[in-house]
């Protein structure tokens, strides 16, 4: 499983269009991030399996950014589309200076199966992620 070299990078295949969401760092808002990813994946012609995988990956990463504790802050998620791929990057911004837990081994395994490439960087008090998923011909 190859992983990206830097967060928030733009792959050579990605186009200039970008969709950006900013929302409170609360799990009830993750639905917005999932649905946006699903809509963009659908636009790329992803199959239902790939759309569901993308949504699971978004959920995993949003929870990774917020951690288990209720904290006041925001998540910013950016989506960029290529001809046959979608890049999603996310960043948390909190009002406190707690550090976010490190990415778990289970989370890494899950993301290995769900997307083509992924990165997660923990930076106190915020964290960042980046994922890339390519369309697989049916």
């Amino acid at each position: 499983m190859r992983r990206g070299k830097a967060l928030n990078r733009l792959t050579d295949d990605a186009g200039p269009d970008e969709v950006r969401l900013e929302f409170p760092a609360l799990s009830e808002y993750f639905r917005l991030a999932r649905l946006t990813a699903a809509g963009l994946g659908s636009r790329l012609g992803f199959t239902v399996d790939q759309v569901e995988d993308l949504k699971l990956a978004i959920d995993e990463l949003c929870f990774g950014l917020t951690g288990p504790d209720l904290r006041s802050g925001t998540l910013t998620v950016r989506y960029r589309l290529g001809r046959d791929l979608i890049e999603v990057s996310g960043e948390s911004s909190f009002d406190d200076d707690q550090s976010t837990p490190a990415q778990s081994e289970l989370s890494r395994i899950i993301l290995d199966a769900l997307v083509d490439e992924h990165e997660f960087h923990r930076e106190s008090p915020s964290s960042r992620f980046w994922i890339l998923k390519r369309r697989v011909p049916g």
């Binding site: 609360l26 790939q50 699971l56 995993e60 009002d95």
Partner: protein
């Protein structure tokens, strides 16, 4: 959804003053400043059989309660605290009425149709259908298909005592404790075994097939003789349970 820092500081100062004085006029100002949040959250629960005006009333009363109880020294923003209080009251309102907070009926119906259509189209096409395929097959918009897929999932944490689903009458708690023997052949799986042991044997198997064997949801569905949407729902539920279990350790 960001807040001007100056306005936020002014608001915080008002909460601090109210915490000390309990001045009713100050309370009215704080409620008024956040009434938009209450209305916004109330509208999120619309289309579930309750008049919106009633929901706004419930949300507004919850907002007053949140203003009264908010401790500005705790470190959370008021909007975060109030959102939890208001959503909790709205859910309680539905529960007291005997109605589950759930997706609109038309979404449930579309989800059930999709469950069958995905499997039949997968066989016909020889590969999983796209969202556009599903929209065409169900005479729906792609947005409606995506909404129905979302509505059918179980992304939130499921209680240990919740029914397993799919017609099962046993609970999650009654099915935990044993690790599927197929999970024990890798070192990292051994590390994860205590977490995975919290899942039912069936859910462990599905997690194993998807994340360790890297089979697709469609392949797992075919192997287990259940629908792809059911696999998707069980995976989302398992991840939520594992995440929650991980937070407890």
């Amino acid at each position: 959804m960001t807040v001007d820092p100056v306005a936020r500081d002014a608001l915080h100062a008002k909460f601090v003053a109210f915490a000390e004085s309990r001045d009713p006029a100050l309370r009215d100002q704080l409620v008024e400043a956040h009434i938009g949040l209450a209305k916004y959250l109330a509208r999120r629960f619309a289309n579930r059989g309750e008049p919106v005006d009633d929901l706004v009333q419930v949300a507004s009363m919850a907002l007053v309660k949140a203003v009264d109880r908010f401790d500005p020294d705790r470190g959370f923003g008021f909007a975060t605290y109030a959102t939890h209080t208001i959503v909790g009251e709205l859910k309680r309102h539905f529960r007291d009425k005997g109605w589950a907070v759930r997706a609109p009926r038309r979404m449930q119906e579309l989800y059930l149709r999709l469950t069958k259509v995905i499997d039949s189209l997968s066989q016909t096409l020889g590969h999983p259908p796209t969202i556009a395929d599903l929209a065409a097959a169900t005479d729906s918009s792609e947005e409606a298909v995506l909404e129905a897929m979302e509505a059918g999932q179980a992304y939130r944490f499921t209680s240990l005592d919740a029914p397993i689903g799919g017609g099962d009458t046993q609970t999650f708690a009654a099915n935990t404790g044993d690790v599927d023997p197929g999970m024990a052949d890798a070192e990292r799986r051994a590390v994860l075994a205590p977490l995975l042991a919290r899942l039912t044997p069936r859910d462990q198997r599905i997690v194993n097939l998807r994340f360790f064997k890297e089979m697709t949801q469609g392949e797992i569905a075919a192997e287990l003789g259940i629908s792809q949407m059911h696999v998707s729902r069980l995976l989302a539920k398992s991840l939520a349970q594992l995440r929650n279990a991980g937070d407890d350790t």
